[in-house]
Amino acid sequence: MMDAGRHPNIRLLTNSELVGLEGEAGDFKAQVRRHPRYVSEELCTGCGVCGRNCPVEVLSEFDAGVGKRKAVYVPFPQAVPNIYILDKENCTECGICVEKCPRDAIDLDDPGKDLELKVGSVIVATGFEVFDPTVVKAYGFGLYDNVVTSMQMERLLNASGPTQGHILRPSDGKVPRKIGFVQCVGTRGEAGLQYCSRFCCMNSIKDCMLVKQHAPEIEELKIFYIDIRAAGKGFEEFYQRSLEMPELTYIRGRPSKILEDPQTKDLVVQVEDGEAGKINDFQLDMVVLSSGAVANKTNQKLAEILGIEREETGFFTSGEETGSPLESTKEGIYLCGCASGINDISDSVAQGSGAAAAAEKHLAKLRIEEKKEEIPELDVSGPPRIGVFVCHCGINIAGVLDIDALKKYAETLPDVVFVRDSLFLCSDDGQRRLQDMIKKKKLNRVVAAACTPRTHEPIFRESCARIGLNPYLFEMVNVRDQCSWVHTEEPQEATEKAKDLIRMGVAKARLLEPLYKQSIKIDRKVLVIGGGISGMRAALDLDAQGFQVTLIEKEGKLGGSLNDIHRIYPQDLSASELVETMMQKIKNSKIEVLTEIEITDIKGFIGNFEVFTSKGGLKVGTIVLAIGGELYEPEGDFGYGKFKNVITNLDLERMIRDNQGDIIIDGEKPTTVAFIQCVGSRDLEKNPACSRFCCPTTIKQALELKKRGTNVVVFHRDMRTVGTRAEEHYRKAREMGVRFLKYSPEMKPQVVGEGKASGVELLEPALNRNLTLPVDAVVLACGMIPNEVETGRLQGILKVPRGADGFFMERHAKLGPVETTVEGVFVCGTAQGPKDISDSIAQGSAAAAKVATFICRDTIELEPTTSIVDADMCRGCGKCVRVCEFLAPKLVEKSPGIFVAEINQALCKGCGTCASWCPTGAITAKHFTDRQVESMIETFLTEAV
C-alpha cells in the first residue's frame, strides 16, 4: 500500500465511494463521492497531537472490537495516507483537536467533495466480509465472553494489536491454557452458506503455531474440523509440520454446542463422535470460531451502479465460461480477489495483476511515454560542503529533542558549512527552503535529521534532483521514528542519541558519491513457452495490449492438459469448447504460434534474450514459462500395472471424454467403482504436497459415473473441495448416494483380488477390524508432479530455481507468485505448482501484466545502487557467483586461465551480499560501501559527544 500511495501514476482516493458510472469500455465517466474526513490531507502530517488530546474513546474496528481508539484517529498503523480522520458519529464536537492541531488541519464542517473521473476501465476488488457468527446460536458468540472470531484472534496475536501480541482471554485478561478452534462456522452447509471458504483451515493452523510462539506455556490446542483443507502451494507441508506439535490435536466433527460455566467463564465444546455414536465434551478456556467469508454486502449496490451481474452467493459473476475468469459481465469492468469468489492471498495477488493486464487493453491508446526535462547538474567536485537540516516535525521531534543543542552540535562537525531547522521540512515550504539553501550556500552534500528514509528519502531525493543536485548525495538521519518517538521519557538520552546519529550521518555524507541511473534497451517481444490454457491466456492478454508475442508448444496442438479433459469443474463446461474458443481468439490475433518445436538454448538477460530452437532462433525481451505439470505415474501402487481394472483419473477422464454412453473398464461395465484419493500426493516420502485439483476432479467423475448408473465409493483423507462451487458439487454427490470413507496415511486401503481387482480393504477404526468392499474397478486419483524433463531442462538453461516440490519457484509465495528470481522470466499455471484451470488462467493474466510493466517502455532504468567489481583486485575465486541469488556476478575469462568476476548491472539488486563475501574486497556495494559503513561505526565509537 505504501508503494501504491507513492506511485506517480496512482491516485489514491480513500474515504470515497463510487456513486455512478456512465459510458463504455475505454471511455467511462465515474462519479465519486469523497466523504468528508474533517482532516485536511494536504496539511495533516500524522503527528498525532489531535488523537492524544481527544477525550472520546470508542472500540476500534480494526482491532475487531478488542481494542480502543479515539474519535479522531488513524484507521490502522500502516494506513496510507498515514494521517488522521475524524469519526463524526462519535465526535462530541468539543473542538479540542481543532485548537491543538499545529497545522490547523481540522475542519469540523468539512462538506466532502464530488468528483468525476474519466477512466478507461474499472477493476472491482471489493473483497469479502466475515460471516456473523451470532446467527449460529448454539455457539454463543456475543453471549459468552471467551468465544471470539478468528478475526479477533488475529488482532490478539498481532504485535501491534491491542494486547501487543499477548493472548489474553476477554473475560478476565488471563492467559488461556486451552484453546479450541471451530472450523466451518457458517460455511459448508451451515446457516445457509453451501460453499467452503477456503482459507479458514490454513488460518487456524497458522494461529495455533503463532499461539505456541507467543505463549509457550499453552497446554492444549484443539481444532474441530470436518476436512482439513490445506489445498494450495506449500499448504499441505505446513499442515504436516503442525502435526508435530504435541499440544495440538485435530478432532473430527462439527461441534453441536458450546456451553459456558457462568462462574469461571470456561467453556465446554460438545462434539458428536459419529462412529462411536456418543457425544464427547472438551473443556476449554477460550474458543475461536473460524467464521467463513461471505460476499461483501455492498456488492448489491455496486452491481447496480456498475451494471454487472451477481451470483446467488452475492459474489460477482465472472466470465469463466469463456476462459476469462477476471471479466465481469460487462466489457471494461474486471474482477479480482474475493470479488468473484473465495481466493487466498497468492491467488488474489495473481488475479490483481491479471485484472490490471486486462484493464490495460482499454488504456493502450492512452498510454503516454513520460518525458523528463533535463536539469543541468550542479558541480559537486571539491571538498564536501555539507548542509544539515533538522526537522521539528511539529512537536513530534521538537517536543522531545533539544533542537538548539542539535543545531549547535551539528555546526561543530567536520565539513558542515550550514545548519538550519524547520518546522516541517517535508512541507512544500520546507522543501523550497532546502532547495534555496543548497543553491545559495553551494552545498554539495545534504543531511536531513527527520523521520524515516523509508517513507521520506524519495521525497528529499526528488527535491535535490529537481535543482540538479545528484540525489545520491543526500543522507537521512532518523531522529523521529527511531528516537524521539521511542525515548519520549528520556529526553536527555534521546538528544545525545540524536547527536550521535547526526554525527554518523555526516560521516557517511562526507563519503557519498554521485550515482547515475543507467538505462538499457529492451526488446519488446515476448516469448511464451507452453500452449496450455495458462500460456494461451498470457499470450492473448499481451496481444490485446499490442505487444508482439510468440507462443511455442512442443506438441502438435494447443490446449495442453485440457485436451484430455471432458468437462471442466466446478464450472461444468466443455473443455473442448473452451480450447476451441481460445484457439479462435488466437487465430484472430497477431500471436505467432509455433508448434512441434523444441528449445535448445537461451542466452542473455532481461530485455535481451536470444532463444535457440529446433526451428531457428529468435530474440525476445521477456519470457513466460507455462510448461504445465504432469500426472503422477502410480506404477506399483494399489495394484496399478498388476490389475487391468485399476486405472488413473486421467485414464477415466479420457474414457468419459470419448464415451457418451457406458464406461467400459477392462472389458465390462462396472457396477461399483472405488476411487482412492491422494495417490502420489500428501505422501511424506514421495510428494508431501496436496495436488489440489484431484478432489474436485474425483467429484466430477463420480457424478459422471453415477449418472450412468454406477455405484461409487471414495476413499479419501479429507475431501478438499475448496472455493465457491466445488463444495456444492461435493454435497450433490453425497445426496446422489456417493459414499465417502475416510482413511489415514498409516492405514491405507488395500486393493485385493486375483487376476483383477475385486475389492478394497480398509481397517474400520471404530470396530477395529478389516472391512472389504467388493468393487469392479478402481480409479486412482493421481496427483500432479512437475514436468520433470522440461522443468529440469529449462532450469538448466535459464537458472530459474525450483522449490522443494520440484516446481518452478516463485519470487515470493504471497507477493510475487508469477515472478521468478531471474529478471525478465515469469512463470504461470501448473508449471508453478498444482492448481485448477481458473487459477492457471488467472496466473496467465497475472504474468502478462507483469511482463507489460517491463516492456511498456523500450528502455529500463537501472537503480544505480548496485555492486561492482574492481577487476584488478579480483582473484576469480567465484564466491560472489555462489552467494548471489540473482545470477548477477559471472566469471569471465580475461586471458587464458585468468578469470575475473563481472556483475551484470541489469541483474544486480543491490543487496550487497556479494560484497560481504568477497575475500579481497574487490566488490563495492554502492551507497553502502565498506568505507561508508565503517566510517559510521568509527565515528560513533571513537568520537563521543
Binding site: 498481532n158 521511542v486 538520552e493 551480499t913 560481504s916 556495494a925 565503517e934
Partner: protein
Amino acid sequence: MSTKLSSITKKKTSEKKFTPRIVVFACNWCSYAGADNAGVSRIQYSPNFRIIRTMCSGRVTPGMVLKAFKLGADGVLVSGCHLGDCHYIFGNHRAIENFERTQAIIKTLGLEEGRLRLEWVSAAEGPRFGQLIDEFVGEVTKLGPSPLNNSNRRK
C-alpha cells in the same frame, strides 16, 4: 512526568553506572522497518544503541562487526528479515553464515559470545524490536564493559 523525573535523578545518582554502547545493523526491508514500527506504536525502550541501516542483513561483513568490537562496542546486533522473507531471497541465510564466521573470531579475541547477536524482526514487529533491544541491553550490561573497550573510549 514521574518517570521523567526518576530517570533524570537516576542518571544523577548513578553517574558511574555502566551504560553499554551497542551497534545495531538493520536491513532496510524488515528490521529497520520494524524499528520504525516501534516508533509509530510509540513503544518505549532503551536508547543505548545506534542503528546502521544496510539494504540486507547479508551486507554486514565480519569486518564491520569486528571493527565495532575493536573500537570498543560492548555489543553488536545484526538484524534482518525472518527466514523466507528476505527481500533478496537468501541474504539472511548468508548473514547466518557470516554470523557464524564472526562468532568464531570474537571468541578468539576473548569476547563473550553473548555480545554478538543475530535476530530476525519483521516490519510489523515494532513491539518485538523494542523488547529485543531492552533484552540485549540488559544482557550486555550484565556482561559489563567490553574487555576491548578502553583506550578509544572517551577522548
